[in-house]
């Protein structure tokens, strides 16, 4: 009997909450349009791939060999040959202006040194103001150089000692990228974006909903009704949980059908992970609402949490290359686990046998957050 009455009260609260949230056409759009826009822009913009690095060359040697080396760069998809300079200051000025990011300088005598077997040096200027692009670009450069050297040596040996050349031992690396065979950047980022958007949406919405009542003064009105605190909280959070589920499904569909990210795992595993994570985000939002008197304050506190959470989640950079201290922080962060789950389910297709610790952590985290929030909420009303 008591339970039924409690459920009836929660039902009323739910109705009020749905009416309030969905009444305003602005808000209705805000719940759907921004996540979609963010997803699409994120999906296209977030790439750490480095292709078509603008390149300039200064060839002071003008030989068959130097032209062969340059043609390897212009044929590669990693570099775009922008300019064949004739003066040294042309390349330095171009780098300063940002017209190209790399410049090769082949001094005269390059071919001569090669033929003498002395080893030739090519000078390279790199604009390293973006250190990632510079690093990856240097990697490509060395690959092309090593290939050139190998071919040159093989060629020479072929000519001087053909009987030896065919017996020269060699070790080759046969790389097999699993889960993302073409090293597609979108496949990596899109599942992570879903996790980020879930956190940002649900956390801010929940925090705002509770604080708004307090700010406008309607919270007191609710508190004089027979509704109990946990019923109030349940009524407040369930709509956002449902909206969160809806948005997650929408984002997951965009990921699969718009960006073509393969879905190799089980929907149920994804749902388990997503739901425990949504509850964690709800709990965090509620917790923030107990700290904040105004919506502006809630926004500031939420972002104080969101920015580090996104950075320390393995979303953009691997946790393994962070300093130890930040690795520990990353493993406290619920976003880390949901991104792990999303990527594993999408790309690796693994199931609960691998992912259960992550889901368990999220469940425990959400329980803890909700419990602390309910306790603090009681206090904050008195």
């Amino acid at each position: 009997m008591r339970l039924r009455r409690a459920l009836a009260r929660i039902g009323q609260m739910l109705r009020k909450e749905f009416i309030q949230t969905l009444r305003d056409p602005h808000t209705r759009l805000v719940l759907i349009i921004p996540p979609i826009i963010q997803m699409v822009i994120f999906g296209y913009a977030a790439t750490l791939e480095v292709r078509h690095v603008p390149l300039a060359v200064l060839d002071l040697d003008h030989t068959q060999e130097s032209r062969d080396l340059i043609s390897r760069f212009s044929a590669s998809q990693y570099f775009d040959l922008k300019e064949e300079a004739s003066q040294p200051d042309q390349i330095s000025r171009g780098i300063e202006r940002g017209d190209f990011l790399m410049a090769l300088r082949i001094n005269s005598g390059f071919a001569q040194r090669l033929r003498n077997g002395q080893g030739a040096v090519v000078q390279v200027i790199v604009d390293a103001s973006n250190s990632n692009t510079a690093l990856v670009g240097l990697g490509y450069l060395n690959q092309i150089g090593a290939r050139f050297a190998q071919d040159y040596e093989a060629n020479r040996m072929e000519r001087t000692a053909p009987q030896l050349a065919s017996f020269l031992p060699q070790v080759q690396l046969e790389a097999r990228p699993w889960f993302n065979e073409n090293l597609n950047s979108q496949w990596f980022f899109v599942p992570g974006v879903i996790g980020n958007l879930m956190l940002i949406m649900v956390m801010t919405l929940t925090a705002f909903a509770v604080v708004r009542e307090r700010e406008i003064g309607t919270l007191e009105q609710i508190m004089v009704t027979p509704i109990r605190r946990w019923e109030f909280i349940a009524g407040k959070t369930v709509p956002f949980f449902l909206i969160g589920c809806f948005d997650t499904a929408l984002l997951a569909l965009i990921g699969s059908f718009w960006f073509g990210v393969p879905f190799r795992g089980h929907v149920t595993v994804l749902m388990l992970g997503a739901m425990t994570f949504l509850l964690s985000a709800l709990g965090l939002g509620l917790l923030i609402s107990t700290f904040s008197a105004t919506q502006q304050q809630a926004m500031v506190v939420a972002f104080f949490f969101i920015l580090p959470a996104v950075t320390l989640s393995g979303f953009g950079t691997p946790i393994a290359s962070m300093p130890r201290f930040f690795q520990h922080l990353s493993y406290l962060n619920p976003l880390t686990y949901v991104i792990l789950i999303l990527r594993s389910v999408y790309l690796k297709g693994v199931g609960l046998e691998v992912l259960w610790p992550s889901i368990l952590y999220l469940a425990a985290f959400s329980l803890l957050m909700l419990a602390v929030a309910v306790l603090r909420f009681r206090k904050s009303l008195d």
């Binding site: 040596e153 690396l173 090293l183 705002f208 406008i216 691997p318 290359s321 962070m322 594993s344």
Partner: protein, 377 residues
């Protein structure tokens, strides 16, 4: 326009900000926290890639090769497997990102002058780490291969010269390829965009929602006076944040500062005016604080984080996205900051960026002034 009314409006806004001590504290501390996390934790220079090795050959030769993996900073051997199933399990589990499998008869093949293949299995779900890890592995194997060849030729009394071509790179602007050097200027822009637009995006919506707008309307204060009075206090906060960030960047992270203070100040002022006006505009249009905050998120945080070239290089984006970035103030501001900190390019070279920022600032300010009407709906 009356200075007295503007000052009164500003006083009201300052009191409101001051009353909320904790927010003010967060606003001043957040940039530093961000700076520290980005400066220390975000490192695209990938090292210590977790590696699993499986040596099917178990000879001196194969161990020599694996020792080379152990000796570098780039890999951390986390597991020595003795069957293929463990290797697969580790990659699925995410215990290791790369697994190197040396086939049986590896040393035999090499001794007889054949071509031996070493397998590298990569968890490529993180495509960037995978391709960088692959590059490292390739380099190690290639070096090993040359060493084997050299020994083989020496035993037959032949000499092999030094490698035919080596590159001598000189990195400009960020000589040691420190990630923090190029992130830190970006963080300044990110923090300013977030703080600037978030705080102001709620100021007008809040007045509507609480019903205090009616009180404001009944006073003689004009709409331009409201706008100036509301934005100036936040402008001061924004400038203070920029100064804190720039100071920490230069003195703590030792990011070089090679350009002129004037350009930095000019760019910051223009950028702040733009984001503050944008927040104000959103606040007028959004009506409720919930709507306003969600729009602000979309209009400021996202472009500053994603589309400004701060982390993700703009020239790698699809053409349409590249065109969109041309409309965004964050893009110009990040480029100005990079120049001022790292490149130290002359002011003339920055003129285009500054002009673009000025135009955007003008348009946004005009737009925000025009949309706000001092009357009840």
């Amino acid at each position: 326009m009356s200075l007295r009314r503007i000052l009164a409006m500003m006083r009201k806004e300052v009191i409101q900000i001051r009353r909320d001590r904790s927010s003010l504290l967060i606003i001043l501390v957040m940039p530093l926290v961000q700076l520290f996390i980005f400066g220390y934790a975000v490192n695209l220079d990938i090292k210590h890639v977790p590696l699993c090795v499986y040596d099917q050959d178990s000879t001196q030769t194969s161990q020599d090769l694996l020792k080379r993996f152990q000796a570098t900073d780039y890999f951390n051997i986390v597991r020595v497997a003795d069957n293929y199933r463990d290797v697969v399990y580790d990659i699925n589990q995410g215990v290791c990102t790369v697994a190197v499998v040396v086939p049986s008869r590896f040393s035999e093949t090499l001794r007889s002058g054949g071509h031996a293949k070493v397998q590298a299995l990569l968890d490529a779900s993180d495509n960037n780490s995978a391709s960088i890890g692959m590059g490292y592995a390739q380099a190690i194997v290639q070096n090993y291969s040359s060493a084997v060849q050299l020994r083989w030729l020496q035993r037959r009394g032949l000499m092999l010269g030094p490698p035919a071509v080596t590159f001598q790179p000189r990195t400009w602007f960020n000589e040691n390829l420190k990630s923090s050097d190029d992130f830190v200027p970006g963080v300044v822009a990110l923090v300013m965009a977030v703080i600037g637009a978030f705080l102001t995006s709620l100021t007008i919506a809040r007045e509507w929602e609480r019903g205090t707008m009616e009180q404001l309307i009944s006073t003689p204060v004009g709409k331009l006076e409201i706008q100036i009075g509301k934005l100036v206090p936040y402008f001061v906060i924004g400038i203070a944040d920029t100064a804190i960030c720039a100071g920490a960047a230069v003195w703590w992270f030792e990011v070089p500062f090679r350009g002129s203070w004037i350009v930095m100040l000019g760019g910051s002022v223009l950028f702040l005016i733009t984001v503050l006006s944008l927040g104000y505009f959103i606040s007028v249009v959004g009506k409720s604080q919930l709507t306003a905050s969600q729009i602000a998120l979309l209009a400021t945080f996202l472009p500053a984080f994603l589309l400004s070239g701060f982390i993700f290089p703009i020239d790698q984006m699809p053409l349409i996205v590249r065109w969109i970035t041309r409309l965004l103030p964050a893009r110009y501001y990040v480029s100005i900051l990079r120049n001022v900190f790292l490149k130290g390019a002359p002011v003339e070279m920055m003129a285009g960026q500054l002009a673009a920022l000025a135009v955007i600032a003008l348009v946004v300010t005009a737009l925000s002034t025009r949309t706000f009407h001092k009357r009840l709906q």
